[in-house]
């Protein structure tokens, strides 16, 4: 029995459902372990902390072995507190805040952490793009965006660039004043660490107000809502995110991912091409590693499974090679992909894969 | 007997579990002036509200100009020719005197007729003309009462229902108001008036009904009621 705690409605519903699909497909591929059928208990946390805690508690009641999710750090952390206390394994699919896995030994994640993402992006913007001045837009009331912007800002400064930070809050739609603020700063590039709900109007207004600079974003932009929302304004937008099959350096892992992608489009019939992304892979792999750990432990005893998971080395996941041994629950080596949107119109857009970078390299 | 203008057949009305009217029968003929009397809480206001449709008829039927109107909404009944001077005045407080009067003529479209009636109302209540632009809510109690009367007259009704029109009026005006009611009645408008001032009311009315705990306990020509011994004792306070 495996619990799934995801943001299926509310603000992050889109990513939540993508992740859920990934888990479902993985479940179809490996429906059984130790001769028993794996039962998925789905719980929607409505993108609220309270909902996330309620889900966690429900899982404690139903006696699941492990919980997959949640997506964002804001929902993962409170659930992790409950599950850690109850001694249930949790694998957050895409929480990137470093805090999450520090809560305890039962908490794992599938993603990289933001310090890598921020550092890599800064290195790219200052190094590869050669920007001397960068304007940074962050959503100040979100753990993820705020933290990420901080890591970016630090590294960029370290690399010798000047930065100017502009703050906004969730649900902001009008950015004109902030844009006017960076006008005399004359940035060479712009870093955006927020989500698509704000990102689409942001990009639209950015272009309307005559800014032509390169904009770089992060994995929250890995969401069809971005190009579909703002259309051509997203053309040329570059962002970091979970690696898609092509960007995975390890050829074996790449193959696995490709195979999974095929399966995915077979199973999820009305999926659009853009719906397949790193979140799907992360969802699938969080399921896979848990099942693998159960198998390795040879029992459904939670403690044993946790130990198996904690000692897991080089598991061949669809998102790459997964090693938990010797970490706080964050896999050792994750590939961060760099992408670029090529957008003609809201309905005609492409995600170009640029290159991948391994977090192991930065370490 | 001519065709009745208004008829209540066996009407009962309820406020939740409380039965406020109990099998009331009443008839009004065109051109009559009928007076409704009764002690406090006997259901007089409720009777008017039932006729107007502000209180739902629980059992029984109400006919107006030959048509059964109890399932119809209030505005329909007004359209058919009722007008009302409500209990406790109830003018529109945030509208001027003029606007209040215009609201009285809401269903009419003949600008000329409205103008005539406006002048007529002013001739009855000169105070209203003085205060045309004042917010009705800031007028004194008696002034509001005049306004409520004037407003009812503005619709040129067939039947005018009045709930204590003399309440709060100076003695001089009370007389005037009953004269006005009389003239209104003589213009052919049927008048149904609830009045505590039974002496005056009965002296100008044609007939009267007396309510007690929601039941009609007495009815008859006004003169008879005026001289009815029990009636005098019960309502006119004479021993």
């Amino acid at each position: 029995k495996i619990g799934i705690n995801l943001e299926l409605s509310g603000r992050f519903a889109a990513i939540g459902n993508q992740t859920l699909n990934g888990i479902k497909v993985a479940n179809l591929q490996t429906p059984e372990v130790l001769g028993q059928k794996v039962e998925l208990v789905i719980c929607d946390n409505e993108t609220t902390r309270e909902g996330s805690i309620a889900c966690a508690q429900r899982f404690v009641n139903e006696g699941v072995i492990g919980v997959l999710g949640a997506i964002s750090s804001s929902m993962s952390i409170p659930a992790a507190e409950v599950l850690q206390d109850a001694g249930i394994i949790m694998i957050s699919t895409s929480s990137t805040n470093p805090q999450t896995t520090q809560i305890g030994d039962f908490i794992f994640r599938m993603a990289y952490t933001d310090d890598f993402q921020g550092k890599l992006a800064a290195a790219y913007v200052v190094g590869d793009l050669g920007a001397k001045k960068v304007a940074v837009f962050r959503q100040i009331d979100d753990d993820y965006s705020y933290g990420l912007a901080g890591f970016f800002d630090q590294t960029a400064k370290k690399l010798g660039a000047k930065t100017l930070i502009q703050d906004f809050v969730a649900n902001t739609v009008d950015f004109t004043a902030q844009l006017n603020n960076i006008r005399s700063f004359k940035p060479d590039a712009i870093y955006y660490s927020g989500f698509c709900a704000e990102g689409a109007p942001f990009m639209k207004q950015l272009r309307e107000q005559g800014f032509a600079q390169q904009v770089v974003g992060a994995d929250a932009s890995d969401d069809p809502q971005c190009p579909e929302g703002a259309g051509a304004a997203f053309d040329g937008y570059i962002f970091t995110g979970f690696a898609t099959p092509n960007l995975i350096a390890d050829p074996a892992a790449k193959k696995r991912a490709e195979a999974f992608k095929q399966k995915y489009f077979e199973v999820i019939k009305n999926a659009k091409p853009g719906d397949f992304n790193g979140f799907v892979l992360a969802g699938a792999d969080s399921y896979n590693v848990l099942v693998a750990a159960i198998k390795a432990a040879g029992t459904t005893d939670v403690k044993a499974v946790r130990d198996a998971l904690g000692n897991m080395e080089h598991y061949p996941g669809v998102s790459g090679d997964i090693t938990y041994k010797g970490t706080d629950g964050t896999p050792k080596d994750r590939t961060i992909g760099f992408y670029k949107y090529e957008v003609k119109s809201a309905s005609d857009w492409k995600k170009i894969e640029l290159f991948g970078k391994s977090t192991a390299e930065v370490q | 007997m001519p065709e009745p203008l208004l008829e209540l057949k066996n009407v009962s009305a309820y406020y939740g579990p409380i039965r406020a009217l109990n099998q009331v029968d009443m008839v009004l003929y065109p051109g009559e002036m009928v007076c409704l009397l009764g002690g406090n809480a006997s259901g007089k206001s409720t009777t008017l509200k039932t006729i107007l449709g502000l209180v739902q008829v629980g059992e029984g039927e109400v006919y107006f100009r030959g048509e059964r109107i109890d399932p119809k909404p209030t505005s329909y009944r007004i359209e058919k020719g009722m007008a009302v001077v409500p209990e406790n005045r109830r003018v529109f407080p945030k509208m001027t005197v003029r606007e209040n009067l215009e609201m009285g003529a809401y269903l009419r479209n003949d600008a000329k007729g409205i103008k005539e009636d406006l002048d007529y109302v002013f001739s009855l209540f000169p105070r209203l003309e003085e205060r045309l632009g004042q917010m009705a809510g800031t007028m004194s109690g008696g002034e509001q009462q005049m306004l409520a009367m004037g407003r009812a007259l503005m619709s040129r009704p067939k039947l005018i229902l009045m709930d204590e029109p003399s309440m709060g009026l100076a003695p001089k005006l009370v007389e005037t108001i009953f004269k006005i009611i009389k003239t209104v009645n003589e213009r052919g408008i049927t008048v149904f008036v609830v009045e505590q001032n039974a002496n005056i009311a009965l002296s100008i009315a044609d007939r009267g009904y007396v309510l007690q705990t929601g039941e009609v306990v007495l009815e008859g020509p006004a003169q008879d009621l005026l001289h009815n011994e029990a009636m005098r004792r019960a309502y006119l306070g004479e021993v």
Binding site: R49, A54, D141 | Q212, T213, A230, R233, A234
Partner: protein, 449 residues
Amino acid sequence: MRNTLLTLATVGLAILGLYLLTQAEGSSGLLSALTLIFIWGIAAVSLNLINGQLGILSLGHHGFMLIGGYVTALLMLPEKERAPFRTRLLSDWARNHLDLDKWLRGAGLDFIANSIDLKFVVALFLAGLAAAVVGVIVGAPSLRLKGDYLAIVTFGFGEIIRLLPNAPEVAALTNGPLGIKGIPGDAGTVWWTFFAFLFVLWFLTRLKFSSYGRAFEGIREDEIAAEAMGVNLAYHKVLAFTISAFFAGVAGGLYASYLQSVDTQTFNFFVTFFLLVAISLGGLGSITGAVLGTAIVVLVRIYGGFLEKPYPAYVGYLGGAVVMLSAFAFSAYIRKARRLRPVVETKHLIFGALGVALLLVTVLFRNEPWMTQTVQFFGLRKILLAVILILIMIYRREGIMGRAEFSWKLIFGPREDIPTEEQRKQDAWLSNPDLNPDAAKKEDDDASA
């Protein structure tokens, strides 16, 4: 006397039940539901004090809860913090100065120290106090305003309070938008919330049925009249507002402890919205109603989950048909009970027709793929809640309890406020003694004598 005994017995039973529940296997879901009911119940009855009893639409309750949450968080934060914090000024201070348990142990009162965490009591009290102080600051100037002007100002204050912990100047203490995590959660368990809830209920019920409570209700009914009757408007409004803020702060503290984290997004306007829904469902002005409403809302939110499970589409169609048909029957029933005619309104026939149509569709197309495919609707619970609320407002506009409170009399005693026919007759005799059959008889007797 009997009533007091009954009340005590009920409380005793509740404690026993709760105890058994905590011992039972697999009850943690139910327990956390109860915990939430108690926490939100405290917040709801405190909001009810202003919105229901004082009759002032206040939309800033989340602000007071947030203050309580932050204060509790800062005071209760353990020493070994998981997250790196920039400042732990307050929590360090609290650990050194507020640890009553240490003193108790020093005084040899170990058994108290072992059974309850006194520091949490103090923290909650201070949380309430902080909220109450802000309540005075907010209330004193703004309560002069009336109606919706006041509503929007309280909303404004609520939002300001909510956004302030993010301000750079205080972020060192509050950790900015990221909030404080790792508050010890054992303090937020069901016993704590239960007793806090009992206390608040006791307090507010007593307040309501005191002269002060009546004064509040007088203000709600007619400010001008209340003032003319000697009630000091400003004092009483600020008083109610402050007490309400105090308990909101307590609720916020408990909630923070339950969530083990506090931040500015948790206590957003939806919190107040949710509380409003709860108290109006139960009946504005009624404490019992507020509790009942909260219970319904929380339970629907937690246990309504089955509505959002995947099921074959025909279940949905059938469910729709049942809803429509019962809506039809229900409206007819209500109209009949209210003596409204006609019993079946033409427009309500739509419900019946739709119900029958849905039923037909289900039967006719029972084998079609779109009828057997699995569907899943997220968000049905909230829709259900909204529909319940609208229905209650339509058919019982004053809410489930209206303004009444639960009392033993309601169950055992006669209704005092609805007169019998007999009483009304007697009332009429006051105006007209002639109609009094006794009097008439007496006269007859006199005459015959």
